[in-house]
Every structure is written in structure tokens, then in C-alpha cells.
């Protein structure tokens, strides 16, 4: 247990210790801080080993007592991982290789010379100076509220969180505000649910506060099932205490003393950091009985999901916490009236909670000053797919897709042409280039046939077939439909059958109409959000890329060359150099030297041909072909 005075002194002490990370001189012996990303992306590219080697090198060079190594959460630029930042300079080393550590230590950390050829090249100016990361295209348009501590603090250290004003919002709420004042602040901020639907958070809290019951619950939805989205995971990995603190505030607001975090078991690092954070929070007395001596009790339990997408739907999530098959329930009654174990419950998403403490500390007006008229604040997006800077970005609402994709994301790589951006995962839609200048907010995205969703943003280029993408999402929903209601269970299967018929080249124009009609039936008749939005990928691609559907049906061609039954692989005899690499890669022996063994002028070997009868169109030949002689038609 810590008293408020003890917390305040920890806060002051930590602020001074972390001054280096804000570019200021150190107040203790650690003159340099080296931050290494310990998020899932960088861990997968071996950042723990990089850290171990770095620590060995520091010892070998005798500077281990002057350089502090901190493992943080996600910096956002996952494409460049493993990532390492050296403060106070803010030097950004990207894709750090274990063989490069020695040079960084001996040159930069010992002598103070930045190793220019290893830093992220965009930070090196033409005059040879190295700029901090905050000035790069990727970061300068971002505004970090929910992610403010990600990549800045050690998520497994509660002291560092306290040093960045942690648990100050909880103190303010418990000591100076009534429950109704908290709800009014959240309402006035205009914060809307970041999990997808965009329901005003304050209103949700008000409903639960109005429900009369001696037991209420606060639930955090961390079942981030949208494939290609990792915002919630990054917040939990980078700043878990922010979520715990916000849940306690929510508990105070609605009169609950118990919280549950339902987190995906597929996120082992996030689960671990939550466990560590919960333990520390209980030790410090910021969770538990009689918090800060105010008589307010609140504690949180973890529940692991088991990989069912539908459990992201609020009522299904509650059923799953109760230990059953995660099937949704009809609403009303809404969870705010009858939720977990039949008691009034609020469920908010991780990112929603991550905004709460800042709203309490900085005020509703500050939050409401960001964003558009109906969507306030910022939104985190997970950029993925065919984009240069894969990673996590947080931007004010109202930023256009073009700014995100072209400026922050660095555009589509390999000189390919942008085709569509997909938001909202399996519930969202594909947005074509003509709508790139739409300012992003909840209502605008729905108006153009997609939705905000939790924040996955996948970029597709000319090589992606939109019918195939629709099929991909439908396969996902067919797999993940819980089976409770017929429109979703059967309807999605019928949709997928029609899509398969089209991509196999057996479709007719009537099938396209049938597809469209069926979509509307499923949307209007399904029980929960999963079914009601499942047809969106089909509807949005039909709306913006109908010509591709027609090409599959009428011309029996897949314009992007993805649908295997509608394309053949061929070798351009003028480009082929006869090296036979493709012949070795071919799993079915479909590639042979041309029957006439003819040698093209200027070539030393006879060119090869593909037997289209034998070819299984796996594409193994294409990826190995140096002269790029193999093409799809």
C-alpha cells in the first residue's frame, strides 16, 4: 500500500529519471537511455536477443552503469523492427541486426558519435545531421493520446507509469469528483466507443449508473479478433496501467467494484504484462480495498479468450466470461441493464479506456477540441498490407485516408498502383481511390459503405483481386459464425458458394444480383453485429469494383490474375534466359525446355515453356525467376 504522498514522491523522482527521454540532461548517473521495442512485432524479429547482446556489450565496454536499457511497448513502425532508440538524442536505429550492436555501443554510446549508416535513413538530413524520430513523415502528423506511453515507458514498471501522471486521474476522481461529474465529463468529451460501433461512451456509463443493483461490473473488451488489427494489443503491451486506471474510474462512475478484462489468449505478451501490472497495482493499493482511503473498492480479474471472433460482440463476450459457448444474446436488455451474470455491466474497448485518464486530467474541452464535429479525439489504426510503413498510427479524427496512406504510411511499395483500402475488418468494406480524400470519422466511413471498426487498415494494390478479397472475408465469417441464428449461419455459406462459383468461372450475371439481394437479407435479419455486417465486404466491393465481378462472369478473366481457375502462367520467350530455376521449383513438373529447343537470338540457352494442363498455378516459379519472364494472363 502506498499513500498519496508516497505516490507523489515516486512521481517526482521518476519524472527526473525520465527527463533524458524528453531530450533533457540526466539527473542521475544514467546519461543515456536505450529503448528497445518489446512489442509482438519486434519480439518476432528477435528484439529480446538484441537486448541481451546489447547488455553484454555495455558490460564489456564498462558503461553498464551509465546507459539504461529499457524494454518498451510498440513504437508503431513495425515494418522497421527490431527498433532501438537512443536518448537524449532520440536517434532511431531501425532493423537492428545483432552484428551491428557492437558498432552502436562503441561508437555511439561510448564516444557519442551517431552511427549514421545504421539509423533510419529518413532521419538523416542532407547536411549529415541526424534528426529525432518525431520529425519524420511517419510521426509528424500523428497525435498520440491513447498511445502516449507506448514506446516511452517500461510497461512492466508501475513507477514509470506513475512518472507520466499515472494514477493521478484516479486520485482526482476519487478525491474531488462525484460519480455524476465523471460521467458528465466523459459525455462532454464526445468520446465514442473505439471498438467499432462508435456508441457514445458517456451514455453507456449513464445507463449503467442509472440501473439499480447492488452488484455491477466493468468489462474491458480486449478480444481483438479483426485479422490484421493490433491496436489493442499494442496498448496492453505498451501501457497496461492506463487501462487498469480507467477501469477503476469507470467502476467509480457506475458504482461497480469488480472488473474483468477479456483478452485474447493469442496475445501472450499482453497477457503477461497485464498480470504484472495487476500485481503491481494491488501492491501499491491503486486496486483493491479502500483505494486512497476513500472507501472505494475495485479489483480486476483476467479472463482469457479462446479464439472466437464472435466473442468481440459484447453479449457473446459476456456469455464467454460466464464460461459458455460465446453466443450472442438478443438486445434489449442491453448489458447496461442486464449484463454479466445478469447484473448491470459496461463493456468498453481497450482503446476507449486508454483515452479516459487523459480526458479526466486534461478536461473534456481539450478532448473535444480534436477531431470532427461528431467524432472527437484521435483514432489508432493498424496499417498493414501493401504499404511501406507497416505499423501503428494514431491520428486526429478528420485526417484523410490519403494522408494516412501516402504521407504517414509512405504509400504503396514496389511502384504498384493503389487499389483499395480496407477498414473495419470482416465487418467493413473496401474504399476505392476516389474516396481517399474523405476525412475519417465514424459517420463518413459508414456513408461510403465501410465502417471504422476497431482500426485495421489494410492497403491493397493492383495485384489484389477484389472478388478474392470478398471471398477471403466471407471464408472468415463462415468459419466464425457462431451458428445461433439462421441468416448468418446459412446465409454466409450461400454467399461464399456464390463467390466461389464466380471465382471458378462458372458465375452468371444473375448470380451477382442474387449475391446482392442475399446480402441485404443477412444484414437485416441477423441477431448480432457479426451477421449484420458480414455482407459488407461483398457489398462494398460490388459497389466500387463491380467491373471486376463482371470480368469474372462475362469475360471469364480475373483482372488481377489471382483467381487460379481464370488464369494461366506463361513464360515470355524473349525474357527467359533458360536458367531452369523455375523448372526446379515447379512442384508438378509442368515446366520443360521448348519442344523445338529453339534458342532466341542473344541467348545462350533454349527458353522454357509451361504445360498449362499440368500447371497448378501455385506461383512457385514466379518468385524464383530473376529475369521476371513469367507472367499471368
Amino acid at each position: 500500500m502506498k499513500t498519496l504522498e508516497e505516490l507523489a514522491s515516486i512521481r517526482d523522482e521518476q519524472r527526473q529519471k525520465m527527463a533524458v527521454r524528453h531530450g533533457n540532461p540526466a539527473n542521475d548517473q544514467y546519461t543515456r537511455h536505450v529503448l528497445i521495442c518489446g512489442g509482438t512485432g519486434c519480439t518476432s524479429s528477435d528484439s529480446p536477443r538484441i537486448r541481451a547482446i546489447l547488455e553484454d556489450e555495455l558490460k564489456a565496454n564498462g558503461i553498464a552503469d551509465r546507459v539504461k536499457v529499457i524494454q518498451t511497448g510498440c513504437f508503431g513502425l513495425c515494418a522497421l523492427g527490431p527498433i532501438m532508440i537512443v536518448y537524449p538524442e532520440g536517434t532511431f536505429y531501425s532493423r537492428v541486426n545483432k552484428d551491428e550492436i557492437h558498432e552502436i555501443v562503441t561508437e555511439h554510446l561510448v564516444k557519442g558519435n551517431i552511427v549514421k549508416h545504421l539509423v533510419y535513413q529518413e532521419t538523416v538530413h542532407s547536411d549529415g545531421t541526424v534528426a529525432p524520430l518525431s520529425g519524420t513523415n511517419f510521426y509528424k502528423k500523428q497525435l498520440r493520446v491513447a498511445l502516449r506511453n507506448c514506446g516511452l515507458i517500461n510497461p512492466e514498471c508501475i513507477d514509470e507509469y506513475i512518472g507520466t501522471d499515472g494514477y493521478l486521474a484516479l486520485e482526482k476522481v476519487l478525491k474531488t469528483m462525484t460519480s455524476q461529474e465523471v460521467i458528465d465529463t466523459v459525455l462532454a468529451s464526445g468520446l465514442r466507443g473505439r471498438g467499432g460501433g462508435g456508441f457514445p461512451t458517456g451514455r453507456k456509463w449513464q445507463f449503467a449508473a442509472n440501473s439499480v443493483s447492488d452488484k455491477k461490473y466493468v468489462v474491458c473488451n480486449a478480444d481483438e479478433g479483426d485479422p490484421g488489427a493490433f491496436m489493442d494489443r499494442s496498448v496492453l503491451e505498451g501501457d497496461p496501467h492506463a487501462v487498469l486506471e480507467a477501469m477503476a474510474i469507470a467502476g467509480y462512475a457506475i458504482g461497480a467494484d469488480e472488473g474483468y478484462i477479456y483478452v485474447r489468449a493469442e496475445y501472450p505478451i499482453a497477457v503477461h504484462r497485464l498480470e504484472v501490472a495487476l500485481k503491481q497495482a494491488r501492491e501499491y493499493g491503486v486496486l483493491g480495498k479502500n483505494i486512497f482511503g476513500t472507501g472505494f473498492n475495485f479489483d480486476i480479474q483476467l479472463r482469457l479468450g479462446a479464439g472466437a471472433f464472435v466473442c468481440g460482440e459484447e453479449t457473446a463476450l459476456l456469455t464467454s466470461i460466464e464460461g459458455n459457448r460465446g453466443e450472442p444474446r438478443p438486445r434489449p436488455p442491453f448489458p447496461a441493464v442486464k449484463g454479466l451474470f445478469g447484473q448491470p455491466t459496461i463493456i468498453n474497448n481497450v482503446e476507449t479506456y486508454a483515452n479516459i485518464c487523459q480526458i479526466i486530467l486534461k478536461g473534456a474541452d481539450w478532448f473535444a477540441s480534436m477531431g470532427t464535429e461528431k467524432s472527437k479525439g484521435t483514432k489508432v489504426f493498424a496499417l498493414g498490407g501493401k504499404i511501406t510503413n507497416t505499423g501503428l498510427v494514431e491520428i486526429p479524427m478528420g485526417t484523410t485516408l490519403r494522408e494516412i496512406i501516402e504521407e504517414i504510411g509512405g504509400g504503396v511499395p514496389n511502384g504498384k498502383k493503389f487499389k483499395a483500402a480496407q477498414t473495419g475488418g470482416p465487418s467493413g468494406g473496401c474504399i476505392p481511390a476516389s474516396h481517399l480524400d474523405t476525412p475519417i470519422d465514424y459517420d463518413n466511413l459508414i456513408a461510403i459503405g465501410s465502417m471504422m471498426g476497431s482500426g485495421g487498415l489494410i492497403v491493397m494494390d493492383e495485384d489484389n483481386c477484389m472478388v478474392d478479397i470478398a471471398k477471403f472475408f466471407l471464408e472468415f465469417t463462415v468459419d466464425e459464425s457462431c451458428g445461433k441464428c439462421t441468416p448468418c449461419r446459412m446465409g454466409t455459406v450461400r454467399l461464399l458458394e456464390l463467390l466461389n462459383k464466380i471465382t471458378d468461372g462458372n458465375g452468371t450475371l444473375e448470380d451477382i444480383d442474387r449475391l446482392e439481394h442475399l446480402c441485404y437479407y443477412i444484414k437485416s435479419a441477423s441477431l448480432c453485429g457479426l451477421g449484420q455486417t458480414a455482407p459488407n465486404p461483398v457489398l462494398s466491393t460490388l459497389k466500387y469494383f463491380r467491373n471486376e465481378y463482371v470480368a469474372h462472369v462475362v469475360d471469364k478473366k480475373c483482372p488481377a490474375g489471382v483467381c487460379k481457375k481464370l488464369m494461366t502462367l506463361n513464360i515470355d520467350p524473349d525474357k527467359c534466359i533458360g536458367c531452369k530455376v523455375c523448372q526446379r521449383n515447379c512442384p508438378v513438373g509442368a515446366i520443360q525446355i521448348n519442344p523445338a529447343a529453339e534458342v532466341k537470338p542473344g541467348k545462350r540457352l533454349p527458353y522454357l515453356v509451361i504445360d498449362t494442363q499440368k500447371c497448378v498455378k501455385c506461383g512457385a516459379c514466379i518468385s524464383g525467376c530473376k529475369p521476371k519472364a513469367i507472367y499471368k494472363a
Binding site: P227, E266, G307, A308, G384, F472, C618
Partner: protein
């Protein structure tokens, strides 16, 4: 979610059984116990053989049908043992648009087993996973705890060759 039942016979030890019984006793009577016990049992056995599910049902005093209903509902619950070489390919959107579907087909062809199954000798198992969050490395394949990122179809054969017994 459709699941393939296992073809590998059950080889539980007395020690595992003791741990399972302790786990059941710990959670018995708790609200939402079945899921927590199944999660714990999967840690003990690595998967959920029907023999284990029956024991859980008796121990918690719930119908086997209910236990089976839960174990088949959630994709995390494995009805097949993982192979000594557990291969998983991410089919999340970010990986899919970068060609993980082709990689998956290639692996399937090389190993000769279907998604969600284990070769009868228990050597290889193959899974298609949802997003594992390493989107910066897309397309991604994991073998046991190793992560192989930015893969191409032509590299698959060499990667798998490292694991030949």
C-alpha cells in the same frame, strides 16, 4: 468452426491425470469453470483428447456434450496433438494480401496434411492461424517458436527442410 477429430491415439500419464484432477478440484463450483479447466487441461496435455474432456465433465458434474460444445466452439482448443514440428501460417488479412494463402498451399502440399491435423506419426502438424500480430513481417509462418517472416513461396521448401527428422 469446423474441427477435424484426431487420428492419434491418447497417451496420457498418471502424473498428467493427477494435475488434471487438482485443476478440476480447484475450479469446481466456480462460475465459468468449464472454460478455465479446459484452458488448464490444454496446458497439461497440449491438446484436448476426448478422454480428458470426459474426465472434466464427470469432475465438474456437467454433461460431456456441454464440454464438447465448448471445446469445439473456440479455435484455441485443439482436438489434435501438436506435431513435434508444429507449423502454423498466418492467414490474417495483412498476411493474406501479401500472399500467405499461396504459402499455406505450398506447405500443405509438401507436408501432405490438411489444415488442423497432425501426421499419423505425430511428426508434423499444420495450422492456419488468425492474425498473430507480426503484420510488419507479413507473410509470416511459425514453426514451433521460430518466426519466419517476409517469406516467399520458393523459400518454403528450404525452411521446412531444416526440420526433417
Amino acid at each position: 468452426m469446423k474441427k477435424n477429430l484426431t487420428t492419434v491415439s491418447f497417451k496420457g500419464t498418471a502424473e498428467q491425470e493427477k494435475k488434471l484432477d487438482e485443476l478440476i478440484a480447484l475450479h469446481k463450483g466456480e462460475e465459468g469453470a468449464t472454460m478455465r479447466v479446459l484452458q488448464g487441461a490444454q496446458e497439461i496435455y497440449g491438446y484436448l483428447p476426448i478422454e480428458v474432456q470426459k474426465r472434466i465433465a464427470i469432475g465438474l458434474d456437467v454433461p460431456v456434450a456441454e464440454v464438447f460444445g465448448i471445446s469445439t466452439f473456440y479455435s484455441q482448443f485443439a482436438l489434435n496433438p501438436k506435431g513435434e514440428v508444429a507449423v502454423a501460417i498466418c492467414l490474417g488479412t495483412a498476411c493474406y494480401v501479401k500472399g500467405s494463402g499461396d504459402i499455406f498451399n505450398k506447405v500443405k502440399e509438401i507436408l501432405g496434411i490438411e489444415e488442423g491435423t497432425t501426421s499419423p506419426d505425430g511428426r508434423y502438424s499444420l495450422d492456419a492461424t488468425r492474425c498473430i500480430g507480426a503484420c510488419g513481417l507479413a507473410p509470416v509462418m511459425t514453426i514451433n517458436d521460430e518466426v519466419y517472416g517476409r517469406l516467399t513461396v520458393s523459400e518454403v521448401k528450404d525452411v521446412l527442410a531444416k526440420y526433417q527428422g
